[in-house]
Symmetry: C2
């Protein structure tokens, strides 16, 4: 398990939050999990852009971006080798009641963890299909918000410990993504990944892979993926800001032959400067 | 605004929780909001039963019921007149990651608030239909869990401050309930309320009203309620453990004639011993 190296609450060292914080009371907030490599946060701009978009969509007053960048840079400076920075932004403290009208001051919780460097598992990882079916809520889809009970339940299903990740389907049987990752299929040299406008999270690595695919000579499509399409894909991989691009060797009983496109994408993304 | 009279974390006075609490990180927990009247918590057994059922459904190790009762009774003893006790139970602190396997120790946050006695508004309150459509997640339906962003968004819509409550519909246009209440329709002397097995919360006052309806000579039905049925109901009321049975005078543009059944139920429930 990753060891915790430090916590800063609103920029100051600390390890607790007031119990009236709306993040605790209602899950009223957002988070980002970022990879630190050589004291630099990978894809920091993309993480902050998603966070600020989330604040806008939830009506949370956005923390000052310059302060955020300063705190993140300071934390990253203290690291050696690989680390993880988790930034949580809540609507802050408030009186009882759901309504978020009135003045709130967002609260920031920045936690730094030691982490081993992710190893690109060339042999691939095993996935399973979650028993839990994901609900569709367009108002929250795409956001990395703090209402994560579906993910908790899916990741706690029997047998999950034997898999790297579980893929979540919606009520129509379409693939949404993993509990902590986005998923891509490769079909005839093209990348396919599901949209994230009704459920799921708009992953930072997902957006990086989509952006980089052209440079690798690969077409990509964002479209609905029926669960059954997993069985006819040439390759499958999952993405996550912390672990990068991870080849999948099996989903449930179905196995894939590794033919190298995923490995090429993984190496390309890992080699990016950011 | 209600004043806070005290907070106890795991039975000890305190006002903060560790930032690695899963309630904050993932909304991984449950809560109860209870009314204290004459130093007694109303419907305590029903609140605790719902909480423990929620723990079971989420796989949260339930806090010891005797300790909970003791803490609640001690807090209630300190009150004069009316008060509100909010009990929050989270899965407790844990390492990063959604999976809830392994040993967790639930954390309890008990907050006591001063509150005016609810007044039965004989003239009724005004409701509106929320713009937000509720997602259906049977795995979470009925529970008073900490993933409440839908409620926050609905209660933060423009114009909400001019209403007592907003009614939420599902994607099929069926009534789920209010953001902080359950809803009942009266049709030809019968009570009708929507099921809470696909969305919504199984309110404690809702269960009390259903239980007591027979004693008042009223039939009741738990069944789907299309939004349009609100316009043909004879009376409408909402329920909530803190405020009791509240007559509704209008939903959006549609007004109701008060013909007394709601007032009778409200008075009966208010007069119950518990």
């Amino acid at each position: 398990m990753s060891g915790r190296l430090g916590i800063w609450i609103d920029g100051r060292p600390g390890d607790s939050v007031p119990s009236d914080d709306r993040g605790l009371q209602y899950g009223d907030g957002l988070f980002e999990t970022m990879r630190v490599r050589k004291r630099q946060v990978r894809f920091l701009d993309a993480h902050l852009a998603r966070l600020l978009l989330g604040c806008e969509r939830l009506g949370i007053p956005a923390p000052d971006a310059a302060s955020l960048r300063g705190e993140i840079a300071s934390a990253a400076e203290t690291t050696q080798g690989e680390a993880i920075l988790k930034l949580l932004v809540t609507r802050g403290s408030g009186p009882r009641g759901y309504a978020a009208r009135g003045l709130f001051t967002a609260r920031r919780v920045l936690s730094l963890f030691a982490a081993p460097a992710p190893s690109i598992a060339a042999e691939g990882v095993a996935l399973r299909i979650a028993g839990l079916t994901v609900a569709e809520q367009p108002r929250l889809a795409g956001l990395k918000h703090l209402n994560r009970l579906e993910n908790v339940l899916a990741a706690s299903e029997p047998g999950h410990e034997n898999c790297f990740e579980a893929l979540l389907l919606d009520t129509a049987g379409q693939v949404v993504g993993g509990t902590m990752s986005n998923v891509f299929l490769i079909r005839e040299g093209s990348l396919v990944t599901p949209p994230v406008d009704r459920a799921g999270v708009a992953g930072v690595l997902r957006s990086i892979v989509l952006r980089e695919s052209g440079k690798l000579g690969l077409r990509h499509e964002v479209r609905n993926v029926p669960g059954g399409e997993l069985r006819v894909a040439d390759e499958v991989f999952v993405t996550n800001a912390r672990i990068g691009v991870v080849p999948v060797r099996s989903v449930g009983e179905h196995s894939y032959t590794m033919n190298g496109i995923t490995t090429r994408i993984a190496a390309h993304v890992e080699a990016l400067d950011a």
